[in-house]
Amino acid sequence: MDRALMKGCEAIAESAVRAGCRFYSGYPITPQNEIPEYFARRMPQVGGIFIQGESEIASANMVIGAGMAGARAMTSSSGPGISLKSEALSSMAAVGVPAVICNAMRGGPGTGSITHAQSDYLQATKASGHGGFQMIVLAPSTVQEAADLTYMAFDLADRDRNPVLLLIDGLIAAVTEPVNLPDFREVDINAKEWAVRGRGNGPRKLCSHGDPSEAAIERQNLRMAAMIDTWQKDIMVEKYLVEDAETIIAAYGTSARICHGVVDELRARGQKIGMIRPITVNPFPYEAFESLNHDLVRHILVVEMTVPAQMVYDVKLGVCGRIPISTYGRSGGMLVKHQEIIEKVEQLNREVAE
């Protein structure tokens, strides 16, 4: 295991290379340019392929081709670029292309801001494109976790023949931290018997729902639903000091980094507060909220870098109305502020006391 000091983007790219990713195609867009830049330098060293696509759309479709040909393949982008890739994501799910996609989220709709935001939660977890497919969505809050989850993402994508989304923001992308890099993996592109390569002497590979009938598409939808059911075992969640907590903060990614400090400071002041941090935001750890003792927990504060709040809908589904839920958020690329979160918690404490 190698230890290095790396930016989030670099750690993601290096971890992908170590996971056996040998094809990357992407189009420059801030705040994730260090990912294509890293691959541009790194891929030639490992016999991999880097292509700067002419667009987000072309890049995602090159990844479809590479994934369909058997390679571990990846693309990355930010907000508007992910929207452009959404048709390709839907196609990956439909055709069964394993691929890893990283979204460094932007603030707000349209072009948005390029710093740090969590505006794409609902898009990422519920509908990254048309047609009702889903992806496993991994949301790291440190560079180490970004590297580990990237490595894991390729295995999940191959296991399910489905795209996997790594959901980060400008802070995780740019922050530099020490990271233990995973070991190198060799991946045989001929191991996937379904991959196109020319039919050889065998039957031809159609690599699609060759049957476009309604019944065939429904069967495909049912297969997808069954696959999504199997994801319960993949749920990852951090429960931080929740056992005796009377106040629960729910946050993921960069918001959770900041909320860690909030919980530590308020604990030091004697408050019984904890945090639930979904690491897989899809599948969402509903159980972590369902299992909260509603006699003990007086309120839940959902902290997100987006306004209006988005993850709060999943928290509500888990809580089922048993515990009051509030939100605190900043948007447009503004970080949630440590002191503002503390003030919000104290305000909620006062309201509950009344």
Binding site: R22, F23, S25, M62, V95, V196, S208
Partner: protein, 249 residues
């Protein structure tokens, strides 16, 4: 007994789903013949477009990957880069290649990706029901140009061979037609040459084929062939626009 003409081996024997007189069927048959003659059926990968071109994938006993609308060049790029020993061709119609996928078409050609593009230009959208294509002629009526294509508002027909041949990287750029026997034989030779360039010269080849769409044009098969000859050919002249140096014949 001597065989004068037999069904191409790589072409499935069941009937295709193209309309009567559709040039897609002619070109599909020719590709089958070329695959047989070059003996490449085991290593060829067909990247399909959306539209009637998609029906092509049902016809040949080769690996097929159906790309999204306009994205066959990008998907073919990914496949060929990962599998450089395979022989890859993108099979696209005019809406797919010259309208929604124009960006991918130009950039793929400009990178000199080492695969072959077969471009069916029939000056109309077939699958969706006869709408205006980027290659629809000035004055040509379609369901979305009911008074005929007007250059003032809809621009002029896109001449893809002329565009692609301006680029440095493409090795072979040629336009053919399948309106009569001599032109069908020339088209077949052009397709074969394009595949050979991929196999031996390792370069990008672009073959445009003027095609008849009787259904989309609302014509009989023979009238659609006349349309190709009399209306399309003056706008889209046949010929080789670019070929490898030292190989000019």
């Amino acid at each position: 007994m001597k065989t004068l003409y037999e069904h191409p081996k790589s072409l499935f024997t069941q009937a295709n789903r193209f309309c009567p007189g559709c040039s897609h069927a002619t070109v599909t048959k020719l590709i089958g013949e070329v695959i047989d003659e070059l003996g490449i059926e085991s290593k060829i990968i067909n990247v399909l477009a959306i539209g009637c071109a998609g029906l092509h994938g049902e016809c040949l006993n080769v690996d097929v990957f159906p790309a999204l609308h306009g994205r066959a060049p990008a998907a073919a790029t990914g496949i060929k880069r990962v599998r450089p020993d395979s022989i890859v061709y993108a099979y696209q119609g005019d809406g797919d290649l010259a309208s929604i996928g124009l960006c991918e078409t130009i950039h793929t050609a400009n990178r000199g990706e080492r695969f072959t593009t077969i471009f069916i230009n029939n000056a109309i959208y077939g699958m969706t029901g006869g709408q205006m294509a980027p290659t629809t002629l000035i004055g040509q009526k379609s369901t979305t140009s009911p008074n005929g294509r007007d250059a003032e508002t809809a621009g002029s027909p896109l001449k893809m061979c002329e565009l692609i041949s301006q680029l440095d990287a493409p090795q072979y750029v040629a336009r053919f037609a399948v309106n009569n026997v001599p032109n069908i034989l020339k088209t077949k030779a052009g397709i074969k040459k394009a595949f050979e360039i991929q196999m031996y010269n390792n370069g990008y080849a672009f073959v445009e084929i003027l095609s008849a769409c009787p259904t989309g044009l609302g014509m009989s098969p023979s009238a659609a062939i006349n349309f190709v000859e009399q209306k399309m050919m003056p706008v889209y002249p046949l010929g080789v626009f670019k070929e490898p140096k030292g190989d000019e014949k």
